[in-house]
């Protein structure tokens, strides 16, 4: 279990297979986010229809509601939300630290107040692993501290705490059917990133996560940080870049050897009427689409593009119909999953590196990020 086989490389990009108890993941892979045990507005068959293979869910949110013991008693997360394919949970660290006004960090863990009812709770590495074992995802994360990338002094402290917590997370783990990934921190400081990469890589884990990116640094800082990390990472384990990203970030990340991504962007944009397209990001609320008989993207093979006009989608949005969010989520998820699948094929046939400029040009108008979710329910 949890074997990683690299079928082909093209430059630093890799096409591989990661074996999990719920099936093989073909990497690189983009994971939709199902924060509260549901990828917002979509049924499992609709998720299957966009080609999703890995779904992420959030430890912080499920711990608070409905409670990880309840999920365990209902047969675990796969059974609870009826997702039969691989799943991943984060450690809760990112959400807890984003509660900056109500949390207190010490070397043992973090005390915080629920964003739902203000009640007080405490996460430690042991507690995070216990919750994630109750949830039962295939891939789970060590408890980490994600610090402000612009506070370099504090970043060193948070990174060292993250390393100690990674060791405690590993010791706390009891289930053999879950792969625990350590998380590299260190902000945008190359020295810290090298130190963190070496430390996390030294742990006996089937995969390695890269945290603390896409949290306010520039795109150049993110890509150069990925370069630094990449130079010190072992090549035999899958690499997961957490909370990333835009189409451009996926292209740049895969070119730098990243294997796994997740991001709320496609589903969040969908609920704000925005759609990825080769013409750039479209806001379908715009009156120019009122009588547009074309699909969002005539080259897209998703259900929404095969079925509905921009005029209909614009009507649904204008009439505040919830179906708009469903149909745009289907399109946006499919767009990213298809882009990543295309890149995988090109890694396999050796054309990846030469096609990177083309993809970057094609997705240029879709590059901007939106602010990360912090404790919001997505």
């Amino acid at each position: 279990m949890f074997e990683f086989h690299i079928a082909a490389k093209n430059g630093r990009a890799r096409a591989g297979t990661f074996t999990t108890p719920h099936g093989d993941l073909l990497t690189p892979v983009f994971a939709p986010v199902g924060t509260q045990a549901t990828v917002k507005t979509l049924t499992p068959p609709q998720l299957d229809g966009v080609g999703a293979s890995l779904v992420l869910s959030n430890t912080y949110h499920l711990y608070l509601r409905p409670g990880d013991d309840l999920v365990r008693d209902m047969g675990g997360l796969h059974q609870f939300m009826q997702w039969p394919h691989p799943m991943l949970t984060d450690s809760g660290g990112f959400q807890v630290f984003s509660l900056s006004k109500t949390r207190k960090i010490d070397d043992d863990g973090v005390t915080f107040k629920s964003h739902i009812d203000g009640s007080t709770h405490r996460f430690t590495p042991e507690k995070s692993i216990s919750i994630q074992e109750n949830l039962g995802a295939d891939i789970i994360m060590a408890f980490d501290e994600c610090s402000d990338p612009n506070d370099h002094a504090y970043t060193a402290l948070a990174m060292r705490r993250t390393h100690l917590w990674a060791e405690r997370s590993l010791r706390a783990k009891t289930r053999a059917d879950q792969a625990l990934f350590g998380i590299i921190q260190g902000g945008v400081n190359p020295d810290l990133r090298v130190e963190s990469t070496r430390f996390i890589a030294s742990l006996d884990t089937p995969g390695i996560a890269i945290g603390g990116l896409s949290v306010g640094e520039t795109k150049d800082e993110m890509y150069s940080t990925l370069d630094v990390i990449g130079a010190h990472l072992p090549s035999d384990r899958p690499r997961y870049l957490m909370g990333v990203g835009t189409p451009e970030d996926l292209i740049q990340g895969i070119a730098r050897g990243v294997d796994i991504f997740d991001c709320v962007l496609p589903t969040r944009l969908a609920r704000h009427h925005a759609a990825f397209s080769p013409e750039g990001r479209l806001n379908l609320m715009n009156a120019t689409f009122a009588r547009d008989p074309r699909p969002i993207d005539s080259t897209c093979d998703c259900y929404t593009c095969r079925t509905f006009t921009r005029a209909y989608l614009r009507h649904l949005i204008s009439a505040k119909e919830l179906l708009a969010g469903t149909l745009l989520s289907i399109h946006n998820l499919r767009a990213l999953i298809r882009l990543v699948a295309d890149m995988r094929l090109c890694i396999l046939d050796g054309t990846f590196a030469s096609r990177v400029p083309l993809w970057l040009e094609q997705w240029r108008g879709n590059a901007e990020r939106t602010e990360k979710g912090m404790v919001s329910s997505e």
Copy 2:
């Protein structure tokens, strides 16, 4: 086209087939409501999955947004919302008259203000038919006035106006591929209902609608009014009871010879966390369901009941996840469509009348109505 063939009768209940340009309707039939060219939260394949065969949409709402000329230019309502099966539009009368504070009625038509932006508009029988011809449903309605059932003097006046408007609607109609139904009014006054039934039945239409019920009268008044109408209706045309109903109303209506029903109840209840079940109407927000591993209804064949626990649905509701509305809509629609389909089979095999008490007992706890939608978007 628009032939009605009655395959079997059992008491006054009938099982038939009504031929439309978009396929045969097997009657009795329950139509989900797609007010704004979408049955709220559901894709067309999900609607297909619950066994829907006829979908209703609203003239008033589509006239205001996105505009009937736009729908026509996009190929008509079937094409616009991608529903390939039969459709029905109402005349806009019910919504316009429910705008009681902002509308003025005269013998020629009604002037009213939009609930969206307060702009002034005017509907006449000719205008309603013109809009419905632009929308292009298979079954369309004459423009009518639905009056307060408790104001008997005014009800007579409104009924006579409805008759004149039915004649004008018929004269205004130009498309041969749409079936225009006249609408019987007359409140709960037996004399008026007899007069209206005779008048509307005398018109050359392929079907007959019954309006002005389930608008505030008691259930006994509704059922006895259906008895009065039924005694004077020709048996050779389909009968459509508008805006009805609850499971009990469907059973009582079919027992009184009604062939077509529509109601927002299943989808509206779904968005308010309520589900039809043989145990009575369940509010799935209730904490007693938090750890309930059963489906809503273990005898139900819908996607939701085949797939998810009450505990999961309760979690989605509690976490304000939109998927809850989708999954409960699927269940509630399937429950009514399956009930009507079961009744049709029993009419065909001659067991209908003997099973009525059983159905009434089984669905007893689901009988209460909610207030009708008036101008709300459902």
